[in-house]
Symmetry: C2
Amino acid sequence: MITVSEARKLISDHSRGNREEVLPLIDALDRALSADIVSPVDTPPFHQSAVDGYAFSYSDWDKKVGVEIAGEVQAGTVYNGHIGSKGVRIFTGAPLPSGLDTVVMQEKVELTGGLIMIRDEMILAGSNVRLQGSQTKAGDIVLKKGHRMTPASISFLASLGIIQVTVYALPRIRIIVTGKELVQPGGHLGGGQIFESNSFALRSALQAMDITPVSVEIVADDEDAIVHAIQAALDADLLILTGGASVGEYDLVPSSLERCGVKKVFHKVKQKPGKPFYFGTFDNVLVFGLPGNPAAVLSCFYEYITPAIGKFTGRQYQKRLKMILAHDFQRKPGLTQFMKGKTKGNTVFILDHQESYLMNSFSHADALVELEEERDVITKGELVDVLMILI
Amino acid sequence: MITVSEARKLISDHSRGNREEVLPLIDALDRALSADIVSPVDTPPFHQSAVDGYAFSYSDWDKKVGVEIAGEVQAGTVYNGHIGSKGVRIFTGAPLPSGLDTVVMQEKVELTGGLIMIRDEMILAGSNVRLQGSQTKAGDIVLKKGHRMTPASISFLASLGIIQVTVYALPRIRIIVTGKELVQPGGHLGGGQIFESNSFALRSALQAMDITPVSVEIVADDEDAIVHAIQAALDADLLILTGGASVGEYDLVPSSLERCGVKKVFHKVKQKPGKPFYFGTFDNVLVFGLPGNPAAVLSCFYEYITPAIGKFTGRQYQKRLKMILAHDFQRKPGLTQFMKGKTKGNTVFILDHQESYLMNSFSHADALVELEEERDVITKGELVDVLMILI
């Protein structure tokens, strides 16, 4: 049985390269750029007034006489007349007429006839002007490969006139849920049956990363049916199975995967929950066999599958932090344990009801507290490793 | 001119109640419940084995003789025979036959003929059994009104057989972008023109909250056109306008809103960027008039509009934290300033290029650092208020 850090490394080592795709800018939120962005234009594209006021030539300004105002220029228009040593009324965002270099705010002039007297002790040549190219110059690299597209990034690239970007593609993911005891919610529970919930967990966790699985199949514990479902799913980038991952007579997933030519990388990890966790590959397909217990499914998803998806999409979805444990805690050592936790500032609480079949506490968790194999007694105030799970 | 905290309070005071809607469970990710959830069933729905092993009656167990095995029970099946004082082979998740109360793991028995000898010093009555109702009992309140639906919450409710939930609805939002200098990205820039980017900022920031605006209209600086657009938009819950919010001759938004019967609550806030920020109401419609500068648009959105949407959806989207400033900083006091920041652990850096027309630094920001009106000199290591903006 391998350790958690060995399992992490093996999955990372087997994760293959990612694909690119071109998206309309407005559809690129939260995606990572797969290439640098070069600005096609200067921004601002011209010398621009930063305020409502009057533009003039600083060197031509005669403080005793003032500045004669020849006309006005709004945002979105240009002043076409000959300006000479005169000034213009100007508004925020409007281009400075050629030959003018300074703007005085409207609150700081006296206007008499067609003339302004400037009453601004602080004014300098170039005041209140946004110079052409002061944000970007055509040809500049403005965002780098790997950059996560935030709303501000999208607004920024729009302001450069960019309408599409090249980003890392989302992986194609297929899900196979196994178990003959499963009934879809809304159905009627017969003897020994329970409601199927793992497909809901996985679909929602993927949705939080903007990923819709290509398929979600529910299969009974029958090896031929499982083999058939796996064969149809080996065109994905990631295949996730739940249930039947252990070594009992009815744990048919590892043997079915073998029948389909999937190469086992490891089976079983020194962890709780999720000890029977299986990982294998088929060409470039990453195959994850998760146990059937709901809490184990989500723990393994957050601990292993989210980082694997992140390698594909060029994103880091989760923060790993050190936090202060808010209370004493004691447990039997031997396995790395992922415990449902709730953070508050820099502290974290380990929630009650940690058994792998329980989801009531997981519903309130925003983090997994990771206790290393040999850590058994923790005193209030000690630091613990925390994986933030709400994206 | 009012202060930032007065502006916040006025917006909060004018925010009206929210609507509810019923959604399929799988579509409820990240929504807040508008009513408590009551479990319709016991979970587990029966006494269930937690392991692969052998079930027996603890009180009938004769340690010298061992336990005779009468048959087997898989997950998803029930044992229908008469069990008497015998035991059964049992698998994880399978129901215990009536009369049996304890399970021994398969690794801890010796099987000879049809008989097992139990070699487990630690076994107690009830070991390795998940009791019926030990997670939820029918009639229990299992999630409370206001709860945010995480992937784990969705999985949990699926396991109770629940297929739909009542949540707070998303608000209907309309956007009007004004400015005659604006050209859509992909078009050709004429003299004095710039690319329109504010609709991209607002659409993306809303998308991060799973909200698609009902409409996005780009209107030139013409009062009749603006009035017409506003009149058509007053059926929304929130109306957001950008540009023309100041008091110049071409700042037509406040006067147009007045012509449409919108009641001004405030206009201008002691803040930077976004001093000309306008807020008004029309019946239950909240109307936000943002300045045209891109950085001011997003700052005002994150500071004021996100919390207003949160009142509608019952969600708190952002964290407000105290963080350590990573460097010395100095500025002219007088206005509350929202500065683009980048966090690293518990520290925050104020980015370069803070002017309201610049978006290059905002592209890298994950936080806004809020400096109160009179705060001018800050020494490295001092605490500052931080609003986390990436959802």
